[in-house]
Symmetry: C2
Subunit: 305 residues, 2 copies
């Protein structure tokens, strides 16, 4: 078992979905990622919060065993994202992105983090992602997430950092935007030609597609009778995906290890969408995670006599 | 092995997709269905064409062994559908639906068809679907397809006929419209409460979901690097689904038989979307069908040591 270093936002989220609203709740890519991944491996967090950030929340993370030495507190306001979703829950419509303390964030990597082999570069500015990467000693596996905001504003840096990554996790609309290609097979091949051998395209309730060494694996989302808020689903997916991979680090990353990682990612995403916020990721039992994994087996099995 | 009676449209289609256009090409629900199903079982067709319909085409069907005794020729014009698709290929935008000879169509069921155990009520007016059903002796398995046009205009008749069906095959947008419910699990449960124990919700490139006796099965679409025209994909799906079920008729319809039927449906749909029209369904080898079935196994397998 390895550890994972994760960088990304700690944030306030203001969210509206057809099923409710939430005002300035705690969120952020590294928050959701870390909580999901913490069920698989030790997680080391790099981020910044403003002086308006509730200290209590950091202890929620430490109670899950998450290392927050890399989380700085800066003068100013915490990052604030607000967005809304229509019934097409896999399409987030960003209303505002206030970077706030992220505008002048200089990540410093604690010494204890530097030799950690797994790195997740969560959804923040590619410039910051690159800075984190340059401070790591010799990472074995680097995964990247991003979003439309950076594809529009920092494409060049994004493509540069992609060339150094092992895996890109990206949602479908953003994969199309990044590659300027509608067809998802073509988009996946194009991304792989830019560097990351492993590309996972996330499709919300429609599941995920993994492109890996010329193979394609695809899994539908778990059909849920109630979904309230998809915010953080992509980060929880990444947490399950990379957490599982890192937990298998003593072994080679076989095709089936990768596929199972996609399923564990889908499992963690299926928890977080059931309500606003991240509470669903706080008190999970390992058995609940395995039970959902088994539901994916049930859901997709057909070639049985 | 059983036979299948299928009723539906023979049509001219005028189609525009981001990948091309086609003017007045041959199509129609029973056309696509029959060609797909003919790889599994004998098919008996019920429909009507106008005097503008090319006779040659009927021999294309008979060459595939399809029985066309139930296809009438009426004075007037053949049914004509025109529609377009944007990049979201699973959403058809109907431009015009000219019923033409279907307006006064009185289906007559040839004697040889009446005892056929499998019935597919393809996408035509629920009134006509009901008339066909009433002329069948004692069908063992009845499957229904429909579309927004009938959900809007003939909801009452549709719900009535649903109560007599074993299976509904419907696309996702139309399932939502029919049930006035966005969530697909809730929609599937609602439809089942109206009659059909088996409900298949088709999601275009995102695959299909099967609701059956409280269980859910889901499979993604086959990722294809080129898709030109989705017209007829739902009917080809139905052809593979019901064709496979009927081919297994000597056996009980187990959960895995149903799941495999969904996969064979997806296989047949994957062929038709690769080009305009139905040529892709004319000269398939059984091995090509099995090869695609195996690609679905490859695509979705993860729980292997």
């Amino acid at each position: 078992m390895s550890s994972v270093v994760a960088v990304g936002s700690m944030a306030f989220d203001t969210i509206e979905t057809p099923f409710g609203k939430a005002q300035k709740i705690l969120g952020g890519s590294v928050n959701h990622f870390s909580l999901a991944a913490s069920y698989f491996v030790p997680v080391q967090c790099v981020s910044v919060v403003g002086d308006d950030f509730p200290r209590d929340h950091l202890s929620v993370l430490t109670e899950r065993g998450i290392d927050i030495q890399g989380v700085q507190t800066a003068k100013g306001k915490t990052f604030h994202w607000s967005g809304r979703y229509g019934y097409e829950l896999h399409e987030a419509h960003t209303l505002t992105t206030c970077l706030n303390v992220f505008e002048s964030f200089e990540p410093t990597i604690p010494e204890e983090y530097k030799k950690t082999p797994y790195v997740f570069l969560g959804n923040i500015s590619p410039k910051l992602q690159l800075k984190v990467l340059e401070n790591m000693a010799n990472p074995k596996f680097i995964a990247l997430d991003t979003m439309n905001f950076w594809i529009e504003g920092s494409r060049k840096e994004l493509v540069e950092i992609l060339s150094r990554c092992n895996a890109l996790l990206i949602n479908e609309g953003e994969a199309r935007q990044l590659t300027k290609t509608y067809n998802i097979v073509q988009a996946g091949q194009m991304i792989r030609s830019w560097g990351p051998q492993i590309t996972v395209i996330k499709r919300g309730e429609y599941g995920a597609v993994l492109f890996d060494h010329g193979e394609v694996f695809s899994i539908p989302g778990l059909p849920l009778a109630e979904v309230k808020d998809p915010t953080g689903a992509g980060d929880a997916f990444a947490g399950g995906f990379i957490g599982y991979l890192a937990s298998q680090a003593g072994f080679s990353i076989s095709r089936y290890t990768l596929r199972k990682a996609v399923v564990y990612g889908s499992v963690m995403a299926s928890f977080i969408v059931q309500d606003f916020g991240f509470r669903q990721l706080l008190n999970l039992k390992r058995e609940s995670i395995e039970e959902r994994y088994n539901r994916f087996i049930e859901l997709t099995a057909f070639h049985v006599e």
